[in-house]
């Protein structure tokens, strides 16, 4: 079986004995050009894996920061087609950094599942996280995605008990995304003791790497997670940083990219020193 960029990246992290940094930004936030500029510089700033949000009008599992980023992107004319184009352009210069598209099912369903999977693969997408597709709906996208060679990364949550965990893990590949709180993105943060117990529990059920997200905002929090899990995911804090440089009319100041990258560098330093 050929390995994917995601699998290779986590293998490299393991070999280096360090936790990874997964960064989330919304595709096209606040506009296509700025988003591409930022995306291209994320790996050099220390992002090991990139999650790219597919904007949606009704992001039910997201808090205010990511809701707002989605709306900014949509207002600037973003669409799923343009999100794939963004990945295509990114891949011209970077063939190593894994890209995972994250979002909700309706835009994909509207695009058409077979066409989407084909275009995503060609664009250089490595995996998918689709929040509103639990294992009960695997036939929709998960199984077809796996067949077309994309990783399908599932969310495990504090409400996923030991009895249900095998169901959630069954068709998961690439890594498991542990949602550290019962809640929406960018709100509360989990206690580090809870996270470490949860990761240990997941590790009893799977050999896949475990990334932990929701409520991770600072370098110290990212470091605490990198000590016990394979990677820390940061999203709301990054999109909030972008938002700070966007004016009412949707235009961003030149500082937006630079300032967001500065936060990525801090977070990266955090995960890199975590196990030293």
């Amino acid at each position: 079986m050929t390995t994917t960029r995601i699998e290779r990246r986590f293998a490299a992290l393991r070999a280096a004995n360090r936790g990874g940094l997964v960064t989330f930004i919304t595709a096209g936030d606040p506009d296509y050009a700025l988003s591409l500029d930022l995306l291209r510089q994320l790996p050099a700033a220390g992002a090991d894996v990139i999650e790219l949000g597919m904007p949606f009008t009704d992001p039910m599992a997201d808090g205010p920061a990511i809701q707002a980023s989605s709306l900014r992107a949509l207002r600037s004319g973003m669409s799923l087609r343009k999100t794939l184009q963004l990945v295509t352009e990114f891949r011209k210069d970077d063939d190593n950094t894994p890209i995972i598209l994250m979002g909700y099912y309706n835009p994909i369903y509207s695009y058409g599942v077979p066409a989407f999977l084909k275009d995503a693969k060609v664009a250089g997408v490595d995996g998918l996280i689709v929040v509103d597709l639990p294992p009960e709906e695997d036939e929709e996208l998960c199984i077809p995605a796996l067949k077309s060679g994309l990783n399908f990364i599932r969310l495990a949550t504090p409400t996923t008990d030991d009895k249900r965990l095998p169901t959630v893990l069954r068709n998961t590949s690439g890594f498991v995304y542990y949602v550290s709180i019962a809640g929406i993105t960018g709100t509360r943060s989990a206690a580090s003791g809870d996270v470490s117990a949860a990761v240990a529990r997941l590790k009893r059920h799977t050999d896949l790497p475990v990334a932990v997200g929701f409520g991770v905002k600072t370098a110290d929090q990212a470091a605490a997670i990198a000590r016990v899990a394979d990677a820390a995911v940061v999203g709301s804090a990054l999109v909030s940083r972008i938002a700070a440089h966007v004016s009412e009319d949707g235009s961003a100041s030149s500082k937006a990219v630079e300032d967001t990258l500065a936060l990525v560098r801090e977070l990266s330093a955090g995960v890199r020193r975590a196990r030293q």
Binding site: T57, D58, N106, Y109, S110, P134, P135, P158, A182, T187
Partner: protein, 408 residues
């Protein structure tokens, strides 16, 4: 047999299947955090259905608290006015709290109690479901949080005040278009964060399985009563049924017991807003296409990129870009005729019923009446037509006055 047919080809009434599907519609499209709870609700509901005590409890509250059965009223002046079909109004606006919504809230709150839940949340558009939920919460002494779009709060002030009187917390929703769909998003976000303690009382036949089923079951009392009431009044089945549709709970409640009676014509009336051709409407079946939102696959108003578009209706209760999945299926199966009525037609119907029968209807069933006004004159005088008068118009008088240019 088509892929969208139910397990048995002889009935329209045995859906959904074990995956919560009505043909291709329905399902359980929710975040993992909610999934264990959704499964728990399904289990608890199955157990409740099998428990005679649950049925007894429902019966008790229906009779003594809601005030059921609601009358099936022959409307003589309306019948005379249209000059065709004999028009009966199912008076669900006479229920406690003023609409059919309490039928469902009572069922769900009894289920929540069985599950040991300590807190109730709900979304509301017109405020009728919010008021019914707040009422049930007051009755059973459970804390209640109602999410309501800011736009709807502005146009439904009386209901906002009512909910507060009943002890509920009303949370204004500022995201998106600030209407019913955004209130539902926000309620789902609350639920994800409070999944252990909280029961979400969904107000319509939508959402993840088993909600479309349990709301339908709790509302089916409407159609069941119509069956025996019409047998008493006329000694036979009605010939046609008409109900308005936003998410479609009052309509499903009236329709479901009659789905297998081939002689009964069924009409669901969506909100046509400024007219379906203008694009400013809330008619998901007439003007939308299948998609996935709020836990189920159904017809949705959306753009070519799968982004949900705004619904438009004078009626806050119909202002929703989707529709219950069972309606989507009945539409595809062509068992129910889905049509629409505009804001303007609904306003005319609102005034007509007030003047002719002394009943001020809510703007929602005014849409149903607007459609009745189109078909009734052409129907024979022995044609028995039942319209679901699912809510009363007290809450709407301020909005209607404004539309009519009257200053109160």
């Amino acid at each position: 047999m088509t892929a969208s047919a139910p397990a048995s080809r002889n009935t329209y009434r045995n859906g959904p299947d074990e995956f919560g599907r009505f043909g291709m519609f329905g399902g359980r499209f929710v975040a993992e955090t909610l999934m264990p709870l959704i499964l728990e609700v399904e289990k608890a509901y199955s157990a409740a259905k099998a428990d005679p005590k649950f049925a007894e409890e429902m019966e008790y509250y229906r009779k003594h608290y809601i005030g059921r059965p609601s009358p099936l009223y022959f409307a003589p002046r309306l019948t005379e006015h249209f000059g065709g079909a004999k028009i009966y109004l199912k008076r669900d606006e006479l229920n406690h709290t003023g609409s059919h919504k309490i039928n469902n809230c009572m069922g769900q709150i009894l289920l929540a109690k069985r599950m040991g839940k300590k807190r109730i949340i709900a979304e509301t558009g017109a405020g009728q479901h919010g008021v019914a939920t707040a009422t049930a919460c007051a009755l059973f002494n459970l804390p209640c949080t109602v999410y309501m779009g800011e736009t709807d709060i502005a146009r439904q002030q009386p209901n906002v005040f009512r909910m507060k009187l009943l002890g509920a917390e009303v949370v204004p929703v500022k995201s998106g278009t600030r209407t019913l769909k955004d209130a539902m998003n926000e309620a789902l976000r609350d639920w994800v964060a409070n999944v252990e303690s909280t029961f979400y009382i969904i107000g319509t036949v939508a959402g993840p399985h088993p909600y479309p089923t349990l709301v339908r079951d709790f509302q089916s009392i409407i159609g069941e009563e119509v069956r025996w009431q019409m047998a008493e009044a006329e000694g036979r089945l009605p010939d046609s049924l008409v109900a308005c549709i936003g998410g479609g709970s009052n309509a499903m409640g009236l329709f479901h017991p009659f789905l297998d009676d081939a002689s009964v014509q069924i009409y669901g009336v969506e909100a046509g807003g400024d007219g379906v051709e203008t694009g400013r409407h809330a008619a998901s079946l007439t003007g939308g296409r299948p998609g996935v939102l709020h836990g189920n696959r159904t017809y949705l108003l959306q753009n070519e990129d799968g982004q949900i578009t705004d619904a438009h209706s004078i009626s806050a209760g119909l202002d929703y870009p989707g529709i219950g999945p069972e309606h989507a299926w009945l539409h595809d199966m062509k068992r129910v005729n889905y049509v629409s009525a505009t804001d303007k037609e609904a306003l005319e119907a609102f005034q007509l019923l007030s003047k002719l029968e002394g009943i001020i209807p809510a703007l929602e069933p005014s849409h149903a009446l607007a459609y009745v006004s189109k078909i009734a004159p052409k129907l024979p005088k022995d044609h028995l037509l039942v319209m679901n008068l699912c809510g009363r118009g007290d809450k709407d008088i301020f909005a209607v006055a404004e539309h009519l240019g009257v200053k109160l």
